[in-house]
Subunit: 446 residues, 2 copies
């Protein structure tokens, strides 16, 4: 469909465009807009959209495209779009746009919206408060099913979700929740107090968004009420926003594990210099710490001069140590993120990793021993290398589970303890262990 519309636009068949967009999902219409790189065609296309569709499509656009739209429409058109936005999208808009655009947006907002936005902007980033919207339907204990349906009919059309309605007391305290399904299926004269569930799962405005996401998954929810410290309902969070949060958090975890400072933008839109800045810090830190492993080697120059062959095992020992460690750290970090592993499991985890490491170490060591003994006919070098390998794998896998759990215990970020940092530590360990064993077992030949 997207391609069809693009073709109509290229052929100047504007009536066809108007007709086709009516049949399309808003997300697809937003995609057409995004594909139009030339500002004039984009502006023309947006003006072709029927007014009500234009506003919906706007909410599906990425920040960059929204900015293009805002700077090209009249104040009157802008007001229409803003009026149709849900509060959470509105707040996102104000947060993401540059200052001059925000100024224009706020100028065209109603005083009421301005007040609400300012209030919502006060919640800390990454908190439940920053995700919520105020578009929910609320009812009272004594409301009957018939009355409830009429409340929903009158106010529901503006609400982001009416699948769940909240039952509040006069002071706005959250007393219960009732699903639209419960209302429809109940007798018309039943009151809410009789069909509402009183054990309501809710979150506090200050709760971290990651915790909120976990609650959504655990309880299979589509919308979650957000209350303040006095249990007064201040908003709801809907699952679509949670899904976005989870995607962002996962990307952040991937980035941290690869030693990249998290960035907000998509890859292709991030300028080269910004990418450079997000990557150079860790590369520099890790390079400096790798110099430590290097400096360690200089202590053993005499051993190397006497037996240059030893050097050829260093890449393999360092590499295997690094890989073994990151297998463990990745597993543990992911398990902690999914709440499958708790800090109290520390000894169980460590003991498990040690046993896995011994199995892996012995298997790798055996292959290595065979290879070296066969290729160089030198049993003592083979034994030295293989023993180093076993110890290195055990150390690497132990550190791979200890470091992330320690980080969590210290309220640091486990993902930061992952691959790159861990690799550097295990590198140093493997070199130390290697030359220790070289001195022990091959000392007479140095």
């Amino acid at each position: 469909m997207v391609d069809v519309v693009l073709q109509y636009l290229a052929d100047h068949k504007y009536a066809k465009v108007k007709e086709t967009v009516r049949e399309m999902h808003y997300a697809d219409v937003a995609e057409v807009f995004e594909s139009l790189e030339d500002p004039e065609s984009a502006q023309l296309f947006f003006r072709l959209l029927p007014k009500d569709i234009a506003a919906e499509v706007f909410s599906y656009m990425e920040a960059e495209d929204q900015e293009r739209v805002i700077s090209s429409v009249s104040d009157r058109e802008l007001r229409f779009i803003l009026d149709e936005l849900y509060l959470d999208d509105y707040v996102d808009l104000v947060e993401e746009m540059p200052a001059n655009v925000v100024k224009r947006v706020l100028k065209n907002s109603s005083p009421e919206s301005r007040k609400l936005i300012n209030q919502y902007l006060q919640y800390p980033e990454d908190s439940a408060g920053s995700l919520m919207t105020n578009e929910y339907v609320y009812l009272k204990r004594g409301t009957t099913v018939n009355q409830a349906l009429s409340v929903i009919r009158t106010t529901g059309v503006d609400k982001e979700t009416i699948n769940k309605c909240y039952v509040l007391d006069p002071q706005h305290h959250l007393e219960g929740v009732v699903t639209l399904r419960d209302i429809i299926l109940a007798d018309p004269d039943t009151v809410m107090a009789d069909i509402m569930r009183t054990s309501v799962i809710s979150v506090n405005t200050n709760d971290d968004q990651e915790e909120v996401a976990k609650m959504f998954y655990k309880y299979d929810m589509l919308a979650m009420p957000v209350v303040d410290n006095e249990n007064r309902l201040v908003g709801i969070i809907t699952i679509d926003d949670v899904v976005d949060v989870v995607q962002e958090e996962v990307t952040e975890d991937f980035e941290k594990m690869a030693g990249i400072l998290p960035s907000e933008d998509t890859y292709l839109k991030t300028p080269v210099f910004t990418l450079f800045k997000s990557r150079i810090l860790w590369l520099m830190v890790l390079m400096v710490s790798a110099m430590v492993s290097g400096a360690l080697i200089t202590h053993f120059e005499s051993a190397i001069s006497a037996l240059p062959l030893l050097v050829s095992f260093i890449p393999m020992l360092m590499g295997t140590g690094g890989n073994s460690g990151s297998q463990s750290s990745t597993t543990i970090i992911r398990s902690m993120a999914l709440d499958e592993v708790e800090l109290s499991d520390f000894f169980r985890v460590w003991w498990k990793e040690v046993r896995v490491a011994l199995l892996c170490g012995v298997a790798l060591g055996a292959v290595n021993y065979a290879r070296i003994a066969f290729q160089y006919h030198d049993g003592s070098i083979a034994m030295t290398v293989s023993l180093t390998l076993v110890v290195t794998v055990v150390v690497a896998k132990s550190l791979g589970c200890i470091l992330p759990m320690l980080a969590k215990k210290l309220k640091l970020d486990p993902a930061l303890m992952a691959s790159p940092m861990l690799t550097t530590i295990t590198d140093a360990c493997s070199i130390l262990v290697f030359f220790l064993f070289v001195t022990l077992f091959l000392g007479n030949r140095l």
Copy 2:
């Protein structure tokens, strides 16, 4: 709440237990059951649950706990639980239980359920068909709002979601979709044909579950209709199942990047030997390929004997190359997974990476040059190492974007091309480049 119930159980206050679970979310009750490791207490607790709650709680349990329940209840109790299960949970159950348990489950299933389960089991794993359920409400074009509400009231209570109802023709072809919200808000005599949306977003039974997940996100959907090749509605997928799919896929990507064969179970439940098996393959492959880097070094033994200091730079060069490469590969793989980068962007991506790599390489090289020149007062070694670093970073970052994109082009898995494999390749490259430059610039001193 979970702890409170556990305390009541420990104190044998069973009346209190029964009272408290009525107020709890089913997921939390399932958590209580999971905490009871002793089979007898678990069985006792499950029998304390009111029948209707027990069945719901069952659907929130993990496979292992479900197995414990099935093996401890009577046939009559089992039938009651099975009757209450949604079809998708039922199918999961049959897929995950060991053969003897499945036999007992099927023996206690109604012939109708058995037939449906067999039909659903035929869809390939990871396909849309394997995720769907048949619990949806369908209406006809000519159904009025009033009739629709009465259909929903009669059949809706059994359905997994009634937020969306599907409009089908007599041959079960999907003609449109209408939300419960649309129905509630419309005039009682309106017919479905007038309020339904005809441009329905749907998936085919054979579509891959990752694609399905992407559609859910793109269109902000809560439920997705699944059609067969003739556009007949065969089931729906609800967002809670999609969320699980995404979590699994992400875990799999993390595992692949760390060189671990994907496993199904949670970490603590996986036996040591299974963990060993999932990790040893890649460790072995990578160890063997690291031997290549080692073998390369043996070619330069004479250089090493003449200038043993050279060896001390190898860990830093290899480490920086590996880290630079995995920064790029992680970014690209994640961007491809989120559809932010397409194969057609190949040259844009590569050119961007080259520029980032040059910036990073020059910055790292400069620091290195200063360090070596200061510490060893040896300008030509400093230059050799720094130049190697620049080339290594450029090569590593190029490979870091080329390999995953190439993998995708060849319909292989990009994540498999990530960190460990890439590191091994860049390791070999950095050693080759290093000794090439050593021969070029330091040849007179060897």
